[in-house]
C-alpha cells in the first residue's frame, strides 16, 4: 500500500490510481468467472432433468432433481468406484510412507557404501514419467500376474511417487541436528526405535506434505488405472467417470454424469478448504513439482 500511496501523492493522481485498480479488478473478476462459472454450471446441471439440460445452459433447474444423484449411485455405480479409489489411495499412501521414510532416513543420515549411487538413482527417477514406460510396465506385471489388482496398482503408485518423496524427505532429514539421535542411542534405543520414535515425529511436516500431494495424485490418476485394471468392479473413479461419459454420450442422458462429477468434486473441495494453506506452503517446501 505504502508504495502506491507514495506514488499517488507524487503524481497527484488519486483518481488515476483508483481507475487503475478498477481495471485490475475487472481483469481479475473476469478470470474468477472463467474459473468458477464452469463449476457452478456443472452443479446446476446436476439438478436438471435431461430436457432442461438440452434446452438451455443458462436457466436454473426448475426443481432440485435428486434423481440424478440416485442414478449416479445405482445405475452408474459411482459409489463403488469411489470405494475403490479410497482403498487404492489409502493403500498407496501406506506403501509410500513405509518405503520412503526409511529410505530417506538412511540416505539422509547414515554413511555407507553405495549411498551416493542410490541417491542419484532416485534422483534420476524424477525425470521418468508415466506413459513412456507403460508398455514394459504392463508386460512385467502381466508376466508376474499382477494385473487387475488394486494392491499392485497401489504399489505402482507408491513407486512412482517414491523419487520425489525420497528427495523431499532426505532434504528434511538432513536438516535435523544429530543431537537427538545421539541422545536416543545413548539411552539404549536401537536403530529402529530411534527412527520411529525420534525421527518420524520430527519429520511430520514433510510427511504431511507427502500425504496431501499423494492424496491428490492418487485420487486423480488416470493412465495407470486405465491400463492396469481391467475388471469393472475394481476400477477407480477417474476411469469410472470417463466410461460413464462414453456411455452417456450415446444415450444423451446427462443427469447422472453431472451428478457423478459433483460427487467426485466434493471430497477434493473439502480437503482443499481444510488444507489450502498447507498445500500451497507444501509447494514451496518441496521446491516445485509438476
Amino acid at each position: 500500500m505504502s508504495e502506491m500511496v507514495y506514488r499517488d501523492k507524487k503524481g497527484g493522481g488519486k483518481a488515476s490510481a483508483l481507475l487503475g485498480r478498477t481495471v485490475l479488478r475487472i481483469i481479475l473478476i473476469a478470470q474468477t468467472l472463467a474459473v468458477v462459472y464452469p463449476l457452478v454450471w456443472n452443479v446446476l446441471a446436476s439438478f436438471k432433468t435431461n430436457e432442461e439440460v438440452m434446452e438451455s445452459p443458462w436457466t436454473l433447474p426448475s426443481s432440485l432433481n435428486w434423481k440424478n444423484y440416485a442414478d449416479a449411485f445405482t445405475t452408474a455405480k459411482i459409489g463403488d468406484y469411489m470405494l475403490n479409489s479410497v482403498l487404492v489411495v489409502a493403500l498407496s499412501l501406506l506403501f509410500l510412507i513405509v518405503t520412503s521414510v526409511p529410505t530417506a532416513y538412511v540416505l539422509g543420515r547414515m554413511r555407507f557404501k553405495g549411498r551416493k549411487f542410490l541417491s542419484n538413482l532416485y534422483m534420476a527417477g524424477l525425470f521418468i514419467g508415466g506413459v513412456y514406460v507403460i508398455v514394459p510396465l504392463f508386460m512385467v506385471m502381466n508376466h508376474l500376474h499382477m494385473l487387475d489388482s488394486r494392491f499392485w496398482l497401489s504399489a505402482v503408485y507408491a513407486a512412482n511417487s517414491l523419487p520425489f518423496s525420497v528427495y523431499l524427505l532426505t532434504g528434511f532429514m538432513k536438516s535435523i541436528p544429530a543431537d537427538f539421535e545421539e541422545a536416543a542411542m545413548i539411552d539404549g534405543c536401537g536403530y529402529f526405535v530411534t527412527m520411529l520414535r525420534i525421527m518420524m515425529p520430527m519429520t511430520r511436516p514433510a510427511i504431511l506434505t507427502l500425504i496431501i500431494f499423494g492424496f491428490f495424485d492418487f485420487w486423480n490418476e488416470y493412465v495407470l488405472a486405465l491400463t492396469l485394471i481391467t475388471t469393472d468392479a475394481k476400477k477407480t473413479i477417474p476411469i469410472g467417470l470417463s466410461n460413464l461419459m462414453q456411455i452417456q454420450q450415446f444415450a444423451t442422458d446427462w443427469g447422472a454424469l453431472f451428478a457423478g462429477l459433483v460427487i467426485v468434486l466434493i471430497p477434493t473441495v473439502v480437503i482443499y478448504a481444510l488444507l489450502q494453506k498447507k498445500l500451497t506452503e507444501g509447494m514451496m517446501l518441496g521446491g516445485v513439482k509438476g
Partner: protein
Amino acid sequence: MTMKLRRRIFIACCLLPGLAIFGLFKVYPTVQVFGKSLFLWTGIDDAPKFVGLQNFIDLFHDDVFLLSLRNTGFLMLAVPAVTLTVALINAAILTRAQLKERAFYRTVFFFPSILSFVVIAILWSFIYHPTIGFLNSGLERIGLGQWAMSWLGDQRTVMGALAVTMIWQAAGYYMVMYMAGIDGISPDLYEAANIDGATGFRQFVHITVPMLWEIIRITIVFSINGVLAISFIIVSVMTAGGPDRHSEVVMTYLYGQAFANSNFGYAMAIGVFVFIVSLLLALLSNRLTERRDA
C-alpha cells in the same frame, strides 16, 4: 551380534522395500523400453525379433505419427507460453497491487490445479458441446452466433480448444509459485523504483521478471513436461484423437499402437523418441534462458 552387523542389517531393511518397488516398477521398465524399442514385437505372446533402428526409421514415414508430433509440439509451445505469462501477470497484480481480496483470488485461481484431469476434461467437453454447451449459446446471446461451431469436431479449432483447457487447468498453480517468489523479493527495490517514478509496468519488466528468472526457468521445464503427460488424458477423454486423428498427440498414439494394435516394439520406440526429445527440449530451454551476464 556386533554393532556393525546390526547397523548393516538396519540399513538393508530400510532400503529394500523401496528398492524393490522402485526397481520393479520404474527402473526395470525404463531399461526395457530402451532395449525393446529395437525389436519388432507385435503380440504379447510373440517372440520379439531384433530389427535394429528400423522402428525409428518407420516413425518418420508414419504420417499419423508426424501429425501427432506436430500437435504435441504445438501444445508444448503454446500451453507453457500462455500459461506462464498469465500466471506471472496475475501473480504480479496480486502481490503488487495489494488488493484486499488477494487471498480470495489466490484460492479461486489455484483451485483448478487440484481437480482431477478427467473431471476437467469432461467439464470442458460440455463447455464446447455444440448443442448443450454454454460457449456456443453464449456467443449467440451476445450476437456472435455466426462464430458458434463444433469446437472439438473441427480440425481447425480442436487443438486450440484443447490448449485452452490445459491453460485453464495450470495457470493458477504456477501463479501461486510465482507469488511466493515475488513475496521474497526485497521491497526496497520496488520502493526505490517508486521514488524514481517507475510505473507498475516498468517495475514488472525491470524488477519482477529479472528477480524471478530462476523460478521462471524451472517452471518452463516443468510446464513442458506437464503438457506431455496431461495431453494424454485431455485428448483421450475429450476427443479420442479425433476428428479424423487431427488431435492425436504422441502419447495417445503410443498408447493406441501398444494396446489397440499390439505394436509393442513400435510403441516403445515412440516412447524412447519422445523421452529423448523432451530431455533435449529441457536442456535447450535451459540454455536459451541462461542469463549471459550472470
